[in-house]
Symmetry: C2
């Protein structure tokens, strides 16, 4: 698959990906390794906890959305190189059985001042569950190559 270069992208471009369904066993396995708290690992304790039921670690939600970014092929066949993320939020929890869809919109495109072969693309990411509730939003900044000069 051919890469999409900086020149191939426009502010306001939008792609979507998903839905992907979240299994309880996956939620628990991720949390046991990376975020071992009863609200993520223990259904009975979680039912009495702040979310009245088991919820995914916010870091698993972010990882699931990363997978949707890959699936959306935002940059075609070019690698997705993240410089950083701003304003990462989890307005509603992600629960086992939820189906997640994500929307990616190009918020800005800034050619690098220090490197003429690259630019920074800021993407507005919004992930929703099957009820339309936002389970994650963020603004990642990606490092995107410019189209090489014709040989």
């Amino acid at each position: 698959m051919t890469p999409r270069y900086l020149e191939d992208l426009s502010q306001g471009d939008r792609v979507t990906a998903g839905p992907v369904e979240i299994a309880e066993a996956d939620t628990i396995a991720f949390a046991e390794r990376y975020d071992p708290q009863p609200m993520h690992t223990a259904p009975a304790a979680a039912a009495r906890g702040p979310f009245q039921g088991l919820v995914a670690s916010g870091w698993q939600t972010a990882a699931i959305v990363m997978r949707l970014i890959i699936d959306a092929k935002l940059l075609g066949g070019a690698p997705i190189l993240g410089l950083g993320v701003d304003e990462l939020r989890w307005p509603a929890p992600l629960r086992p059985g939820d189906r997640v869809m994500a929307e990616f919109e190009i918020a800005s495109i800034t050619p690098s001042r220090s490197n003429p072969r690259f630019g920074v693309v800021r993407v507005k990411v919004t992930a929703r569950n099957q009820n339309g509730e936002i389970v994650l939003s963020m603004f990642p900044s990606l490092w995107v190559p410019r189209r090489p000069a014709a040989q």
Copy 2:
């Protein structure tokens, strides 16, 4: 383990956790599921890629640091409820075999205006590899209960 309430925390409080060593098989397994790109999944292709070797997905780095936050028991036995994260950065890549340590410093404590039983604690997180290079930095905001009034 007893919880640490908002009143038990002070700006400038610092805890550390780690080191934890990252195994190549774990790096690849995480990436195959959540961030399937050759720089994270395929050692030979990664050697020719932007980092001249296999590197962990930035989201796995974040998840590993979350585990260190849990291990550090920043809030004692109280749950770690993240409202969001600002300025997430990955200045240097995390590579298989690296040993990660993290430092957590309380940057600010703000009692909630809308809910007298809670406050927001902003934490400066800095994770380094065995060479002292920063592999992740971020400012998570946590929702922390105030000490209940004496009965």
